[in-house]
Symmetry: C2
Subunit: 306 residues, 2 copies
C-alpha cells in the first residue's frame, strides 16, 4: 500500500519558476492528502500528474499567502471539472470566512460541499481518523497561529500466505482472527496458532509536516520516531537571528529537531529565495543529521520503514 | 520607445503547466502595465524576467478566478520586496472589497498604497491618461460584468536630426516648436519651416485587450484600426453554441471582429484546455484574418505600425 510524498512547492514566501510556494501531497493508500496550497498548486498537480479527483482532504497550516493562495484556484477548478464529492478542508477558522466570503462576493456557486474543520492552536488534536490513517495537528511557534500535521498509519494486520489459506481450507472468520493475532480453535479441537500461521504485520508508517516555525523542542514528543519528518529550513545557521525574528528555522535547527526526535529521515524545504540552490542548506543539515534530503519541486519520496 | 506585449498566461479557466491562466504585460515606454492576473502571474513575471518594480498599474477585466486569482500573491510579494510606491488597480468595484477584506482577515498590512479605480460596465470610459498613453475601458458581453482595455499612445512629436540642431544652432524653444509642427521665425526674419526641418512623427501605436466575451460587433468602433488586437478565442467554431452559452468566442469569431475592425494584427488566446495545441484555432482564425498569431506563454510581440 502506497505511502509516499510528492513535493509541489519548496520555496518560502517568494516563488521562483522552479520552486513554487509550499504544497505537499501525501499518497496514503491511494488517497491523496494535500498539505498547504501555495499559489500554483493546481498547476503543479497537473505537472506531476496527480489526479484532482483523488484529493478529498486539504490541510492548511496557517494564513500566510505562500501557504494558501492556491486554494481558491483549486476549488474553482474542482468545480469546473464537475466535482460532486465533498471536500474536507482543515485550517484556521478564518480560512472558512475568507473562502466562503470570496465566492459569495464573486457570486460563484461551488457545486460540491466544503466541510471546514477548525484546527486547535493551543494543543495537539486528532483531527481526522480513517480506516487506516490518523491525522493530528500540532501547534507551532510562528509569527501567526500555525499548526503542523502528523499522519500515521494505523496498526496493520499480520500477513497470511494465500497458499496456506488454500492448503488449510481457512474460512473468512479464521483468517480475520489469525491476522489479528488470535489463535483459532477449530470444531475438531485443533489449534491454529496465529504466530505460526502468519508473519508479523508491516510497521505503520508516519509522516510529520512541520510548517513555518522557529526552533522549538516542544514539538518533539509529538513527532518522536516518525519515518519522515518535513521541517522547514528557511535559512542557513549564519542567519539564525533573522530566522528567530521572522518565526523561521535554520537548516541546522531542523536537523537538531530531527536528531532529538529520533526520526528516520529528514526532509528540509521552504528555502529562502536568496539561496540559488539548496546544497548549502542540505550540507548544513546533514552535518547534524546525515539522513536528510532537500525538497525540490516534483521530488517523490516513498516513506519506508522496512 | 518600446511598445511591446508579453503573454504570461494563454489558457482559459483551467491552467496547464505550459499555459497559465490569463495575464499580459504591456511595456509602454518602459512602464509595465499588467492586464489580468491569473494564478501564478508572479511566477511567470520571474520566468520571463519582467521586473516587479516596473509595474505600477494592474488592470483586471472581471471577477472570474482565472483572471485575478494571482493578484493576492503579487500584492504580497510586492510587500515582501519592500515596495513603497503606490499601486493603481483598475477593475470591478467588488475587487477592492475582496482584496482589502482578505488582508484584513489575514491581519497582514501592506506597506504601500493601493489606489483602486472602479471600471464602468455600461459605457467606454477613459480610465488612465499619462504623458504618452491613454487607457480606455470597454464593456464586453460575458456571463458577468466584464471590460476590455484599449491602450493608445498619444500623438508624438515630429523628428529632428541632431546634425541639423548643431548645424543651425537651434535653441530649445525652436526645437520644441519645430517638433510640434510650428514654423519658427528667427529674430533676423528667417523662417524655419517645420515641414522642411523635421520628418513626420512616428504614428501612435495601440493595443486592445478583449478579454472574455461572446461575439459582439458593438466593440468594433472602440477598437477600430488598432495595431494589435488581443481577442479571446476559447473554442473552435464547431463549438459556437457552447461559446455563446458560456459567454465566449470562437477563433473564427475573433477573426471576424479583427476583420470588421480593420486591425493590423490579431492575437488569439484563452484557449480551452481541451485543445492540446493552438494550431487548429490559429488556422481557423487565419482563414478569415491572415495576420493572426496564437498566444503562447512567454511570447513577446513588438507592436509595430511602421
Amino acid at each position: 500500500m502506497s505511502f509516499s510524498l510528492t513535493i509541489l512547492g519548496s520555496s518560502s514566501a517568494l516563488p521562483k519558476p522552479d520552486r513554487f510556494t509550499t504544497a505537499h501531497v501525501l499518497n496514503a493508500h491511494e488517497r491523496f492528502f494535500l498539505i498547504d496550497c501555495g499559489e500554483g498548486t493546481q498547476i503543479q498537480l497537473r505537472r506531476f500528474k496527480i489526479r484532482f479527483g483523488r484529493i478529498h482532504h486539504i490541510f492548511i497550516t496557517h494564513l500566510h499567502g505562500d501557504h494558501f493562495f492556491g486554494l481558491p484556484g483549486i476549488l474553482s477548478s474542482f468545480n469546473l471539472m464537475g466535482r460532486k464529492n465533498p471536500l474536507h478542508v482543515y485550517g484556521p477558522d478564518k480560512l472558512q470566512d475568507i473562502i466562503m466570503g470570496l465566492y459569495e462576493t464573486m457570486g460563484e456557486k461551488l457545486n460540491y460541499e466544503i466541510i471546514f474543520t477548525k484546527v486547535n492552536f493551543k494543543q495537539p488534536e486528532l483531527i481526522l481518523e480513517t480506516n487506516n490513517l490518523s491525522v493530528t495537528s500540532i501547534p507551532l511557534k510562528h509569527k501567526i497561529p500555525t499548526v503542523g500535521y502528523v499522519f500515521r498509519e494505523k496498526d496493520k494486520l499480520r500477513k497470511i500466505s494465500r497458499d496456506l489459506v488454500t492448503e488449510m481450507g481457512l474460512g473468512v472468520k479464521e483468517i480475520i482472527s489469525l491476522k489479528a493475532g488470535h489463535d483459532v480453535i477449530r470444531p475438531d479441537g485443533t489449534c491454529l496458532e496465529s504466530e505460526k500461521y502468519t508473519t508479523p504485520a508491516a510497521k505503520p508508517r508516519s509522516y510529520a509536516f512541520i510548517s513555518d516555525t522557529r526552533y522549538s523542542e516542544l514539538i518533539i514528543p509529538m513527532i518522536k520516531g516518525v519515518d519522515l519528518l518535513y521541517h522547514e529550513a528557511t535559512y542557513l545557521d549564519e542567519m539564525k537571528r533573522r530566522a528567530k525574528e521572522t518565526g523561521h528555522s535554520t537548516a541546522a535547527e531542523a536537523a537538531r529537531v530531527a536528531d532529538l526526535a529520533g526520526v528516520r529521515k529528514l526532509l528540509i524545504g521552504h528555502f529562502s529565495a536568496r539561496y540559488r540552490d539548496s546544497l548549502p542548506l542540505l550540507r548544513e543539515a546533514q552535518d547534524i543529521f546525515p539522513n536528510t534530503v532537500a525538497a525540490e519541486d516534483g521530488l517523490c519520496i516513498d516513506v519506508d520503514n522496512s
